[in-house]
Amino acid sequence: MWKYIAKRLLYMIPVLLGVTLIVYIIMSVAPGDPAKAILGDQATPDAIEQLREELGLDDPLLVQYGRYVKGLVRGDLGISYKSKGPVIDEIIARVPTTLYLSLSATIIAVVIAIPLGILAAVKQNTFIDGLSMFIALIGISIPIFWLGLLLLVYFAQELRWFPASGASSWKHFVLPGIALGFHSMASIARITRSSMLEVIRQDYIRTARSKGMPYKQVITKHALPNALIPTITVTGLQIGALLAGSVLTESVFSLPGIGRLIINSIQGRDIPVVLGCILVFTLTFSIINLLVDILYAFVDPRIRAQYF
């Protein structure tokens, strides 16, 4: 088992290198000069040229990237063009906010989605099923920023149940968590329903019922553990989507997290900060995927036998 995990962790290195290289190239090819962005519209061409040289922006792309990777190996994410402070400090200051946001979104999504999916499957083709899947359809279709604005207008402005911005208490994360989690909730509920529908038609469900087990218990004890594998897969992927969604959510709710940092840094051409944020996202996503694969083994003994 440990050997497997170590192998998977090693595989992350090429992934991280590949992602940073692609982002580096995109940022360099994209229009807009970091030096100009830092110094502002009033700067003289001489000053800009001087800053470009200082930042090493005139070197060939691969040389620049090589320099970045060299730093990376030493655990150095570089210096922010804008704040002149180490990138790592800026990121660490903002990680908790994004972490709380993703966590609350995941909890809201999973806690609603799994019961909803089970209910829809067990009551297939009834009103409950239709209603659940209608909610799920809305969840998949509705844009995060719009849902966020709606929640802000009703629950923060009109009813004043929750604060509209900031990140100082759990209350600040309820509305953003719902806005961000709703979409994932919908996907997870749909996949839970369909895998549950498949499982409850299996012979071993009939065997369990033939023992005299009450239907509810058959569902929770026999059907659910078997239906969870696709649900876990989708939940893992959805956490990736949550990271992307956090960019929007943090903007709408003015949360000081990684998502907003990355937006501001892209606008300011602060390449080291952008790369740092992307690295954090990539690493998080890779680790979550690893956790998902380990979780499979806990749920399904057949997978356990295969890998561990």
């Binding site: 012979d203 065997t207 369990a208 033939s210 023992k211 005299g212 087990m213 553990p225 036998a305």
Partner: protein
């Protein structure tokens, strides 16, 4: 005389799908006495499994609908029983061995937990005690107790079927429904499992409904036999009645389809044609399009039930009260 453990009268079951109504059972009559082993013989699609599931009230609904008839199980009307009472009967008064051991066990649960559930559900005992009983049961069906904490994928087909049998026996049922318990197994394993079942049956003195298409198994294990065709019993009698005093042309066809080991030159005589489409059954006697003795009346009227003795009957237009006694109507007798 004892009260029957199972008494099915005129059971009609339909599967109502978007593509049409499948008539799975069309007035099935079946009575099993305590301790009796009753063979239910017929081709694939004749409604054998539906009959078994009906007794446990586990016919998938939708699409399955019990349209008519009664099932009296140990004195209780299965159709009228509450779900809660039904649950206490399933696995305890009646249990079922399912056809395919490969898919009948939960893949993410240990074998012993799946058996122990039966004890926990019906006997109100602790998990540890249930596991203890489970280990004894595993040994009884020929599996070392220490393998109990393994998962189904670590077992061979024959072992899995033994586990399925252990689940069915754990509740010490009065009636055991065995739905083709050996069909998915190799011949050598088949013989082992059958021997084991015979022995266990003797030990527990339970009644058994043996659902099979294999006449060899019927000869080996059954006391009475019902031959089912298109959801209806066409001939019923004791083992000797069915084997030595065959009356129905369909039963004759089943025997003629068996290879003759003593005369290997002899050609097989399979029943011509296929099982009728159960969503579009032939009129009159449902067997008439395949019958070698078909007459005009066969496609027009349902055949009468003619009794040869108190417990042997056939449903066929060939017979009346006299000629069924002496036989000689079909080739086999």
């Amino acid at each position: 005389m004892d009260k029957p453990i199972l008494d099915i009268k005129n059971l009609v079951v339909e599967y109502r799908t978007d593509d049409g109504v499948v008539q799975a059972l069309n007035g099935l009559d079946l009575t099993i006495m305590p301790g009796e082993t009753h063979g239910l013989v017929g081709e694939t699609g004749a409604g054998k499994t539906t009959a078994g599931l009906g007794v446990l009230r586990l016919i998938a609904s939708p699409p399955g609908v019990v349209v008519d008839g009664t099932i009296i199980l140990d004195g209780k009307d299965v159709q009228q029983t509450t779900e809660k009472d039904m649950e206490s009967m399933r696995g305890y008064d009646v249990s079922m061995i399912f056809q395919d051991p490969m898919t009948s066990l939960n893949p993410v649960m240990t074998v012993q937990d799946q058996i122990a559930e039966v004890y926990e559900l019906h006997e109100n005992i602790s998990h540890d005690k249930a596991i203890e009983l489970t280990h004894a049961m595993l040994e009884l069906v020929g599996i070392p107790a220490e393998r109990g904490n393994e998962f189904p994928h670590q077992f061979s087909g024959g072992m899995k079927q033994r586990v399925v049998i252990a689940i069915a026996l754990a509740g010490n049922p009065k009636l055991l429904i065995a739905d083709e318990p050996t069909t998915a197994l190799d011949v050598t394993i088949q013989a082992q499992v059958l021997d084991m079942m015979k022995q266990l049956k003797k030990e527990y003195n339970m009644a058994m409904l043996m659902i099979t298409h294999d006449l060899g198994i019927v000869a080996d294990i059954c006391d009475r036999v019902s031959v089912i065709y298109a959801g209806r019993i066409v001939e019923q009698g004791s083992l000797e009645d069915i084997f030595d005093r065959t009356r129905h042309p369909y039963t004759e066809g089943l025997f003629n389809s068996l290879p003759n080991l003593t005369d290997r030159q002899q050609k097989l005589k399979p029943i011509k044609g296929l099982m009728p489409d159960p969503s579009n059954l032939p009129s009159g006697c449902t067997f008439h399009p395949r019958c070698n003795y078909v007459m005009d009346i066969c496609s027009k009227e349902n055949p009468p039930r003619v009794y040869r003795g108190e417990s042997h009957y056939a449903e066929c237009h060939l017979y009346n009260e006299e000629n069924i006694m002496k036989g000689g109507v079909i080739e086999r007798d």
